[in-house]
Assembly symmetry: C2
Homo-oligomer: 403 residues x 2
């Protein structure tokens, strides 16, 4: 008996017609004899509608009540999907988080799942019932409704797969799987059949919004095999495993890009020990996430230029903090928000010599200037001028044999 | 310390602006030092929207899941109202039926409240918190969500007033109170300041849809004083008490009418013992509600004509059943659905001689033909031609000193 957790995102359950389609996907799993726990999101647009109502009342809407409000969205989907299954003569039942219960700790809007009671649910699974569970929510030890901050419904699905010891966790969404780069931009982009958790994490942190990162982290931690696939086609999706289960024939798995970065340079900083700490500590305290940092010694060898990147919508705040920082002395600050971050990601990179050189040479051949570089075990990112984005992605996609 | 239950209907909480207005009404009660339990309906239109979604999936949507679906509507209002109160610096908290809990028995969509736990709620009331409770729902002993069939949110409010031993139960709605007749039709209609439970029941069964009848019945049974008032004005509403607390200066309290009746006559029925039972038993078994019945002996004294009224949308079904009824013999069946039922209601009627005569005389003076008559302790109803409705109401309203 195979036990599957199937997660359906907001677009997949966006209309009653789509909910009926999802019911048919589940019916097919049941006809194969599989036990099914379905985790569902709110219907597309529903959560935004509820957020809008709360904003009409207050910009600082009470956090406890905000969770009560939002959780109603997934409740509606649960009921409709269970109804659709019963209509297809497939036994199904919705289980709200207080009925199971799914226990969380942490604050409102930011809770974490700490336990899920399994006895009752296993009993109904063994009686051939489909179990429908709302994603993105639980209850606190006080019995309040809490929503899960990071990872949302994906995190619920992964936690359920872990606690119920499921054989697989399938994330149904509106794309076919994870692609070697953005298929909307680069038509030769290819679907990746297998990818490691780490690569998936790098790709999704770089803008491939196929799955929520913290859910992938949890899957990595507990080695829960995932599959991302489309609700709207029968094609195979992308399987996400631990690295050792993947044969790497290619050094690079994918090319990602993001356009929400900006580059800031502080020119002529007095170079003395602790200057970097003096610059970055106040930024960190203000929740500004600094990504890449480059430091060059300037010609007079007494001052230095420090370049770093932040999210584009943090620029004003960053400059403000730098200007008010009395611990550093510098000539001037310049910034450039017309930049893009291009990354190549691949668990095979570490064992393939020359990947870095090959990337730099390729960009140089296209006359693309590299403004900053950052590297990790499985990722190499560069900052370039924004209008070079497409050219860079195409070139890298080709030279790393991804077309 | 006065403990009040305030119930707000769908129109009263139909927009976030109105919810903020309701929050201000509650804030005012709190500033007077009153403890407040608010019972809320789903925002106007919301329940219909949810029903529509379920209909898109199936005409016979699973009953358990239907209740899960519908209950989300009141949950949203609870959260928004609590948020609005907290935004006004009034401590408030939503309590869903499983958090209290509100226990019910009976089937889905048709449950009855059997118990409400009071300890937790009383604790928070005593700590100066406003308690916000969703109307129309509870949980079964299995822990399933159930909705209350008859009386809905009004029934929840009355049950809570009873179990929490509240000093009053105020039903906020979109009208000022109960009127002597329909103010939209008869401009001289007057708001009734005090009315007995029985009169209220007669009036609401006759189409004055101010409050749900079964909630009034519960209030009558446990002698819970009610007040119906407008959310949108500061005027006094209508108080509903037990009869002995009301001084009757008038024999008639109100004039009601309904236009959903139809009259059926079976002509030339063979008159023998048991004929009435033979006619009406099959109708009753088919859930057709027969209101008034009149039997005349016909000229040949061997046959009789039987006239009765049913709801207008039951006519076809009624005629079908009569035609298939092999236990009765008759000449023919005629029907008239262009009729209206006009009723005068008043607890003072029983002690005032001549009310019946006065009504018949008044209608006769206006050349209005009476097609059927039915009487009770506090009500006198007649069936007349539909186009005479307004004329009849005006006349009766005047002669019974209600203008």
């Amino acid at each position: 008996m195979v036990k599957k957790v199937l997660k359906f995102g907001g677009t997949s359950v966006g209309t009653t017609e789509r909910i009926q389609h999802v019911a048919n996907i589940i019916k097919k799993e049941r006809s194969l004899g599989n036990q099914v726990i379905a985790v569902v999101s709110a219907m597309a647009g529903k959560t935004n509608e509820l957020v809008k109502l709360s904003n009409e009342i207050s910009d600082e809407f009470d956090k406890r009540e905000f969770d009560v409000l939002l959780s109603s969205g997934e409740q509606v989907t649960c009921a409709l999907l269970s109804g659709a299954l019963n209509n297809l003569k497939v036994k199904a039942r919705s289980w709200l988080s207080w009925q199971i219960p799914i226990l969380t700790d942490g604050g409102h809007s930011n809770a974490r799942i700490i336990n899920i009671h399994v006895e009752k649910i296993n009993k109904y699974l063994n009686e051939d019932e489909v179990v429908i569970i709302p994603g993105f929510q639980g209850i606190s030890k006080n019995g309040d409704i809490t929503t899960i901050g990071r990872g949302g419904s994906d995190a619920t699905a992964v936690a359920i797969a872990k606690i119920f010891n499921a054989d697989s966790c399938e994330i149904y969404t509106d794309v076919d799987g994870v692609y070697s780069t953005d298929p909307n931009k680069i038509p030769v982009a290819k679907k990746i059949n297998k990818i490691s958790y780490d690569e998936m994490l790098e790709l999704s942190s770089l803008g491939a919004k196929v799955m929520q990162s913290s859910a992938v982290q949890t899957a990595l931690m507990y080695d829960i095999p995932l599959e991302v696939k489309s609700t709207f086609s029968n094609r195979k999706g992308t399987k996400i495993f631990s690295q050792e289960n993947i044969d790497y024939t290619k050094s690079v798995t994918g090319v990602a890009y993001s356009k929400d970065d900006a580059k800031i340079t502080i020119i002529g900083v007095n170079d003395k020990p602790g200057v970097a700490a003096n610059i970055f500590e106040p930024l960190s305290k203000s929740q500004i996430n600094v990504d890449m940092v480059i430091q060059n010694i300037s010609s007079d060898q007494k001052t230095t230029d420090i370049t770093f990147t932040v999210k584009r919508n943090d620029i004003l705040k960053t400059k403000e903090i730098l200007k008010n920082n009395r611990q550093i002395a510098y000539k001037k600050i310049i910034h450039n928000d017309k930049v893009a971050k291009i990354s190549i990601v691949g668990a095979g990179m570490v064992s393939t010599p020359g990947v870095t050189y090959k990337m730099f040479r390729a960009l140089s051949d296209e006359n693309i200037n590299i403004l900053a570089i950052s590297t990790s075990e499985i990722k190499l990112s560069v900052i370039i001028e924004e209008d070079m984005t497409l050219k860079a992605i195409k070139k890298l996609h080709t030279i790393f044999d991804l077309d």
